[in-house]
Every structure is written in C-alpha cells, then in structure tokens.
Symmetry: C2
Subunit: 206 residues, 2 copies
Amino acid sequence: MSREGGESGPRPGRIGIGLELDAVHFKILDVLRENGRISVAALAERVGISRANAYTRFEALRADGTIKRFTAEIDHVRAGLGITALIFVTVRQQMWRQFRAELARMPEVEYCAITTGQHDAMIQIRVSDVAEVHAMVTERLAGIPAVKATETVFILDEVLKRPYVLPSDHPRQQRRPAPDPSPADVPLGKMRFVGAAEGRAALRKE
Amino acid sequence: MSREGGESGPRPGRIGIGLELDAVHFKILDVLRENGRISVAALAERVGISRANAYTRFEALRADGTIKRFTAEIDHVRAGLGITALIFVTVRQQMWRQFRAELARMPEVEYCAITTGQHDAMIQIRVSDVAEVHAMVTERLAGIPAVKATETVFILDEVLKRPYVLPSDHPRQQRRPAPDPSPADVPLGKMRFVGAAEGRAALRKE
DNA sequence: GTTGAAATTAGTACGAA
DNA sequence: TTCGTACTAATTTCAAC
C-alpha cells in the first residue's frame, strides 16, 4: 500500500503510512475512548459490524499504533494529588537531551511538550500540596543546567478534558485549503500569535 | 469542603470524603492506568490479592469516582490530527459561564484549564493543519465576547505523557509541612512564579 | 478476605457469501 | 473483506470456608 494517485473524496485519516482509516475505524475509536473496557462483542454491536470484523479491526488499530494503549482515568484529587501546576521552561540550547533525561526521573510530571513562543517547553505536574510545587521548581528543575528559566502557574480548575479528539468530531471535515482572508467581522486586535520566530529555536531538539 | 483538624498519620489518598485508599488500591490504579483492559482476574494476580477482593476494590474505585473512566489513547497523527496548539485565553470577568458554554461546542478542544498568571485559561486543541488553528482562533474564539485576548503557541513535540500520576510514584511520599527555607545552593534567579496577584492585575488592563 | 466450583461470556478458527 | 457459526479458553459470579 503506497501513494494513491488522483483521489477526489475527502480521506479522513490518511497520514502517508499505516492503516487507512475509514468511518468504521473512527466509530470504533469513538466508542473505545469513552469506554476502553468494552468487550469486542459489545463494540461490534455498537458499531454495527460483525464480531469477527470487530476483532480484525481492533487488532489492526492496536498493531498499527493508532490505539497506543488503554488506560484508566484517575481522579487526582481523590488519589491525593490535588495540586496541578504548569511550569514553562526555557531550555539552554543543545542541552535538550539532558533536559529530557532529567524529566524522565521526575514522577510528578504528567505531561511535557516542546512549544513555540516565549518558552521552550511546558510541563504539567501533579503534587499533593503547593509546597511541593515550590520544591519541584527550586530543588529539582532549577538544579538542572539545561534549565535557563522557569515560569510557574497554578491550575485552579480543569474545565474539560476530552479523552482524545478525533477528526470525526469536527463539524467540517473537508476544509478549503486557504479560505478567503477577509475577516471583516473578526476583531483581530484580540488575537496574538506567538510564533517560532519570536520563540526561536525550540526546534533544535539536538 | 470539610477541613480536617489535628491529624497525625500520613494517610496517602485521604481527601475528606470518599474511599480511603491503601497501598493495594494504588497498586490496582497503577496496573489499570498502564493496561486499562486487563481482566480483573489478571489484575488480582498482578496485585497479589484474591479475585473476589480485586472485584470488590475495583468496583469500589469505580463507584467512588477515583477511577473516572477507561479510555483508549489514540495516536493523533495517525488519526489525522497532527497539529496541536495551546491557546492562552484572557477571559472577561463575569463571563466565564459563556466561555465554558462555548468551549463545550468546540470539538477540537481536548483540554481546558483555568490558570493563575498572565492569562486566565489555557486550552489545547488538536486539528489537522495549521490553517485550522488560525481559523479556530480568529473565527471561533475571537468571536466570543467573553474572550478578551488570546495567545497561541504550537506544540512541536510531546516529550512525555504519563497516564495519570499517582502519589505512589513519588519518591518521598511523606513530606515535611514546611521545609527549611534556605536554598543556598539553588540559583533562585532562574525561577519566576507568576501568581494570582500578578495575574489579576493583568486582567484589569483591558 | 480467600478459595473452588458453575454459569456466562469472551476470543479463535473456519467455511460461505 | 465481511459475516455467521461452532469450538475452545477464559472470565465473572456465587457459593462455602
């Protein structure tokens, strides 16, 4: 399976290599993200395909890596980690490897992403009290040579957390390549982009 | 919210109301977050308890809300949503209700958190191309009266994403309430906290 | 809280459309 | 490919300890 030539229709989940996802695949993913423990038999019924087909597609999605894993969503507050904070980190260039290595040693880090903009990375941590945030930043992060500066904000409330967004959720799946650039009704002054130019070289992941 | 008075022992996951989590509960959560589809029988074996016990605790964790749900982690790139961006939003005071309502109508938003600091909220979106980010910010977000300003950064790479952090991951679970404030060896100049005070001031600049 | 049964359900393999 | 069925293996439930 390789490059397809002149196709006309909107091809949902085609990313060069891997499985070509159709509507049924997305339906499966949709069911699975809201109920990761559903049996394949029940899944087949909800999607409207045979059990054998469901097993085939389920396995294909798993083998392909489209489904990375199944996990339990845990209530952090009940689990004892009621404090969530974001730490924006400026990383010294060419020390990304060290930064990443140190991150792996910090269990309180739930998420880390490399970003454009003013900072180079954003990490999200879960701890049990605010003092730990301080300890985390000063004792651990600031001690890493790769870390040039940090900026910390607290998360006061998590308004929404969707179990992974799918293209099938989006209203208009087929988009025009470059829409009419005349947003006369939009107050552009409200908006500000912080692009790669301003937040330069996070790209160089070493 | 019930304040607990003079407590002595360090009780891992006690949050006033709900289940009191012990080491076995955390072990269960630990297994479940890395394999949400494991059978309870296999779970019991891995945790080292009987099946009946595993069923009881499993149900209790679910009923209690400590386990919020089970979900499939999906590869966004393979699913056709290769672009991830963060949008920091400044919200007009007393228009939060509207803001939240509008958020619910945006399927490309995966996560939204209320934060301290310069902005009021951070939202993470997943879309298929960069043009959609622009469309999202200008056509949808900027059109909401509650939105005063936005700032957008792109996520270039997601370095790590842990399936929910647990207190049992942390090395020192028992912490001293207020540690010795003498970080002589820590370069404090590196660090900067952005608290609610500073953030609130930023709100009023209209 | 544990073990060991029965009942149910899940997963596999196969031929047919 | 997909479906339907039969077969096998595993899980869940329920009982007594």
